[in-house]
Subunit: 404 residues, 2 copies
Amino acid sequence: MKNLLIGQSGGPTAVINSSLAGAVSCGLNSSHFEKVFGTVNGVEGILKENFISMDKFRDEKLLNLLKQTPSSYLGSCRKKLPTLDENEQIYEEIFSIFEKHNIGTFAYIGGNDSMDTVLKLSKYAKEKNIDIKIAGIPKTIDNDLVLTDHTPGYGSAAKFIANSVKQLSMDSRVYDLKSVLVVEIMGRNAGWLTAAAALSNTENERFADIIALPETPFLPDSLISETEKILKEKNTVIIALSEGIKDKNGMYMGESINSLRAGQDSFNHAILGGVGRTVESLISASLGVKTRTVELSTLQRSASFAASSCDVEEAFRAGFFGVTFATEGKTGFMAGFKRISDQPYSMEIVPFDIEKVANFEKKMPAEMINGFDVTEKFINYAKPLIFGEPDISYTNGIIDFVIR
Amino acid sequence: MKNLLIGQSGGPTAVINSSLAGAVSCGLNSSHFEKVFGTVNGVEGILKENFISMDKFRDEKLLNLLKQTPSSYLGSCRKKLPTLDENEQIYEEIFSIFEKHNIGTFAYIGGNDSMDTVLKLSKYAKEKNIDIKIAGIPKTIDNDLVLTDHTPGYGSAAKFIANSVKQLSMDSRVYDLKSVLVVEIMGRNAGWLTAAAALSNTENERFADIIALPETPFLPDSLISETEKILKEKNTVIIALSEGIKDKNGMYMGESINSLRAGQDSFNHAILGGVGRTVESLISASLGVKTRTVELSTLQRSASFAASSCDVEEAFRAGFFGVTFATEGKTGFMAGFKRISDQPYSMEIVPFDIEKVANFEKKMPAEMINGFDVTEKFINYAKPLIFGEPDISYTNGIIDFVIR
């Protein structure tokens, strides 16, 4: 019997460990594997043979704790493998280490770069006729992987964003004066996360007044005039602003506006603060209203206390089925999601050919965007993904995590 | 029978509406009052006679929703009343409006400025022999009101901060490289909120490595060398940084460091970004490690989804007893907390003389601080205040609020 090796890579999410729990759970309970190992810091850990046993997760309480622990339990890396042509040696090295540790399946949980690793390793194994299955398990808050309906991690981040915008809007509207709040949201190229702010809106009440997405370049002036228009109807305008908004020339707005400015302070650092503060100063200068910026920061990808049950469970299933598919003989795939229906929401896990996934990027389609707003199509798509609140375990008011 | 008027003032908290719910609940169920009104935007609403009926909160479901709604349901204001000498007319105006609306008790929920209003109105009523009871109900995340053991709003903010720091620390430690995360926390003069980051620490694991408080002025160099020291032992250092940290001259560190810099950009604005980013750039320049700043922002005072049950319930009781004391004939007081014991935690609500509360500020005492850390005394004090997770109601993954 062979062993299972699992790794995590790329930026953390609130549920990447739930996928790890799913993969571990399948591995420990399958007659297919003798032992289940984790590689510390992804591919870097393979090269250093830094493997740890996952045996302690036979304890169901620990396994459940792993499901609610944000960020990568096994640690992460940002290593992108060279191509075979560039460096065949590294592939020989990796597979000899696999052989040495009797690895039969390597499951890699990660985003686009990690799927590229899955692609490269599985191609090498096929070419060299090595019987080691390489499985990809998707993970990214950005929701920018193709083929899969959505990615594990997106639902929890979307939920945190929508509820944060709602709470920040409540906070902003208390005084009897005009004000603007810019909420800067992650997503350098795709607007999925920023669009999620709209999930807080109802028919009677908008919390996210303006949704500014990287998919629709615009002039700063149009944002200012839209803000001004809404300020005539209500006291407080909330702008959900993607960090990746671009101007009409396709230039990142932050860079575009900052290039008009000094650009560097006297210590020779670039001016601090992201596009949110840049837009804040534009609006405050143009409209003369109190303007404030909130960057939702890395809490977007680590806020377990605001996670979506749907996301936590789906992430677990992606991990579980990713390993299951490998035991069925599949390799070179990503265990992605295929939506069966919106209402009632139903989804199945399928293995997508990794060649069709790796190195592509999924942006929001035009039919989900309507100027500074999203369409009903987006709402119907995203709404089920934030369903349900997991039963989080706390000790003395502090959320419980399992730490390596 | 007279009427009860309730107002809210100052910056919002996650539980100021729980105090409103308590005050309303007492008012609606007391034989003492005919009607219960809210004044919109605090004292400003009195002058405009902008009163609304609170009758809809006889519906228990709505009352419970009010308890979990962050920010001031009635709106807020920042108005500080002039002294009687400066402007007697405004007092005459307020009390004639009270008389016109048959107000027998005015309960004001707020922080220091609001307690000043309670002081001034109650003094005026006593001097003029007007039988209107003026009750103060404390509210502030800053925990800086004197006499009361702590303030409603502090526990939830402290809990959000401690859990955010723990989650951000998990997020920061995934890569195999040295890094520093600066978490900027509210509290311009008192370090209570920043100190709360330490509640995430356990005997085996520190999440908040350095606690930098406004009560202990320090040189930037000492922060850098402390960071450097810890970086030798572990990969990631988390600095819980008060927005109000001061240098040895008592100058706010942000201003002190920024005054060394250009100070103004080419648009003639002050350089954007708070003290966190200033410290970030210092550390990154001095130690050459990856450094990032997270500002916890106004989510600190509005994150209902991470509130403390202890705080929500105590806030309710403060509101309830604030009005109760008035029905017993008391006036010119603040309904504050008196701690009976730490373990098991027990607390009672008592009316403190408003003259001894208003316009004083409670900082952290020296015995709760130990350099860049807090002492056990602080932990024992703050620990019970973050206990318990309220059963929050959500619809389709979005937290439910009641909106005026």
